[in-house]
């Protein structure tokens, strides 16, 4: 087995505040050749004490050194379940740096911004086509904000009909943000149980005239497709509710099945997952929302429309829930997502989803029998193992930490909550068989180490720049501020 993790010289780096030397600066100004003018006193702030003073090279080295401590999809395999950490093609970056798209001011009048507006319009249409919804808003800045926008739309629809429903049903396989969204929208969360997938009977038992919506994730966080979704949507509609779908797992479905066709009313997309824009610290994110025809009046606005000749910003709609963001959302991210969709094409997107599912099932097939697989029905783009069969008093956290020594970002752990000691692996379509094999070899080797040398797992990571952190103390007694001399 080739171990991709190794040890080497890694440079230490102090905080900018600790580097500071009074009077040092990164610029030089020409000699003053006009009379000096005093600034009015009311425009002057007080001196900031301890503000770091550095030269250009200090700053460049600081951030370059910090960047070498980072781990991202450009450095290695990142199988973080539910997060779709696919490789982000560099052609997206080329598109985002086209000066006309990169430097346009958000207040540019529509007739001078036709290119940007056309791109946004085409992205709205492409996302609507991929998902089967009537209309898409690009405004929300990330998945969680997309969820909030979507649930506010559902709430506005209920209010417009005079309905005062107070509850939202959320299955135990939904994403963790879903209950937070329902709560923030002013609803009470009713958790409902699934047995791997949601059953019609379970929804039927809870779906009454106080329930505003059901929030599902499809495929769910076990990587299982909700096969009863069509019947469930029908039932919820019959009883006066709406169905929200968390679109975080859309990477399993592109070109194969459309949430809009399943009867879902609202879904958000994560452009930073499915559509290969930067994710996490590389962000910002983008969380467009698609809705059915019936819900279009309530979408956040304004979006972009096309009159057959020109692209323009929509007029304000009376029933809209209003803005989610200043201007038009994270436009630079939209450019990257549009570049991805166009460079892949319809067939390419379908192939990406097929390969994502194939890769996850390849990992599943190689690790099944080594790690416990609590749900054995057919999984799609991700697979959830547990630590049940691990020997040597080793647990999921130990496996995750040991994977760092082998050079991998650990998968998602202890989620979904329905699996005790969950290890949630989503390889995505962008990994080759060689990478998957090396990763699976590492996982198998770690299970062997748990049996033969459990101390190694308990101490892990041993090769990383910083050893295992005391997460408990960090959470109980967080130190959030640097203080001089402390």
């Amino acid at each position: 087995m080739t171990i991709v993790g190794t040890s080497g010289l890694i440079l230490n780096e102090k905080l900018l505040f600790e580097h500071s030397d009074p009077g040092r600066k990164g610029y030089s100004l020409p000699k003053l050749d006009v009379p000096a003018a005093e600034l009015p006193a009311e425009l002057c702030r007080e001196e900031i004490s301890g503000f770091p003073e550095l030269s250009e090279v200090d700053v460049v080295r600081h951030f370059t050194r910090l960047s070498t401590w980072n781990y991202g999809v450009d450095s290695g395999f990142y199988p973080l379940g539910s997060c779709t950490m696919k490789y982000n093609p560099k052609v997206n970056e080329v598109a985002a740096r086209i000066p006309g798209l990169a430097f346009i001011h958000p207040s540019t009048p529509s007739h001078l911004a036709q290119g940007s507006l056309e791109l946004m319009y085409r992205l709205q249409v492409a996302l609507a086509e991929i998902s089967g919804f009537a209309k898409v808003t690009l405004q929300p800045a990330a998945g969680a904000q997309g969820e909030l926008a979507g649930m506010l739309v559902i709430r506005a629809w209920h209010e417009a009909r005079g309905s005062k429903r107070t509850k939202v049903l959320i299955p135990d396989t939904a994403h963790g943000t879903n209950p937070a969204t329902a709560s923030l929208t002013g609803y009470d969360v009713v958790p409902i149980a699934s047995d791997g997938i949601l059953t019609l009977e379970e929804v039927e038992a809870h779906m009454n005239d106080d329930v505003a919506a059901l929030m599902v994730t499809n495929p769910n966080t076990l990587g299982l497709f909700e096969t009863n979704i069509e019947a469930i949507c029908k039932l919820v509609h019959e009883r006066g509710g709406m169905v929200y779908c968390d679109g975080a797992n859309l990477n399993a479905l592109m070109g194969i099945a459309r949430p809009g066709d399943m009867g879902i009313d609202v879904m958000h997309f994560n452009l930073h997952k499915t559509f290969s824009t930067p994710h996490g610290g590389g962000g910002p994110g983008s969380g467009p929302v698609g809705v059915t025809e019936e819900l279009t009046p309530y979408l956040p606005g304004p979006g972009v429309e096309y009159d057959g000749e020109n692209y323009c910003i929509e007029a304000t709609r009376a029933d809209s829930i209003g803005r989610m963001m200043a201007f038009h959302g994270n436009v630079g991210i939209m450019v990257r997502a549009y570049a991805y969709i166009r460079s892949m094409g319809g067939d390419g997107l379908k192939h990406a989803s097929e390969m994502a599912v194939l890769n996850a099932n390849y990992v599943r097939a190689r690790l099944e029998g080594v790690y416990d697989l609590p749900f054995t029905s057919r999984s799609l783009h991700e697979v959830v193992f547990s630590d049940k069969d691990l020997e040597g008093d080793c647990h999921t956290l130990d496996v995750a930490k040991r994977l760092i020594d082998y050079g991998y970002h650990p998968p998602t752990i202890y989620f979904p909550l329905v699996v005790k000691g969950a290890i949630m692996i989503e390889p995505t379509e962008t990994e080759s068989q060689e990478v998957l094999d090396e990763f699976c070899d590492a996982m198998i080797a770690i299970a062997g180490e748990a049996r033969d040398n459990p101390a190694l797992l308990h101490q892990a990571p041993v090769r990383s720049r910083i050893r295992r952190l005391d997460e408990t103390t960090a959470a109980r007694k967080p130190k959030l501020k640097w203080e001089k001399g402390a």
Partner: protein
């Protein structure tokens, strides 16, 4: 692991100690072990009216954030203030120092329907 005989238990892994119409509630030894190190606890205000099955608080550990559901209806009489600064007592003493809330029950007889120690141990044997 111990599960005191004199307590009642729920499927959500809470224990209830009943004294007349006052119920003291906390999470079981099994629950604290499954959660791992508890780092934060959120409790309701005194005087809050609780319905059966409604979340009344939150326990956050290094692994997960979990809602705590009211096992019985009533009004919050007292909360364990010590949990704010030292949530770890839920790990070290789940049945004594780590109690969470005391509620004045609307109907004390409702507690009779909850699980016995024996039934609860059978439940967790099935789960683990």
């Amino acid at each position: 692991m111990e599960f005191p005989e004199e307590f009642k238990y729920t499927e959500e892994h809470e224990w209830i100690m009943v004294e007349k119409d006052l119920a003291t509630i906390g999470i079981t030894d099994f629950a604290q072990d499954a959660l791992g190190d508890v780092v934060f606890v959120e409790l309701p205000e005194v005087g809050t009216v609780l319905e059966v099955g409604k979340p009344f608080g939150v326990v956050e550990s290094v692994k997960a954030v979990s809602d705590i559901y009211a096992p019985i209806a009533g009004t919050v009489e007292e909360i364990n203030e010590d949990l704010v600064e030292t949530p770890e007592i839920i790990n070290t003493s789940p049945y004594e120092d780590g109690w969470m809330i005391k509620i004045r029950m609307t109907d004390a007889s409702a507690a009779d329907a909850l699980m016995s120690s024996e039934d609860y141990q059978a439940l967790i044997a099935e789960e683990s």
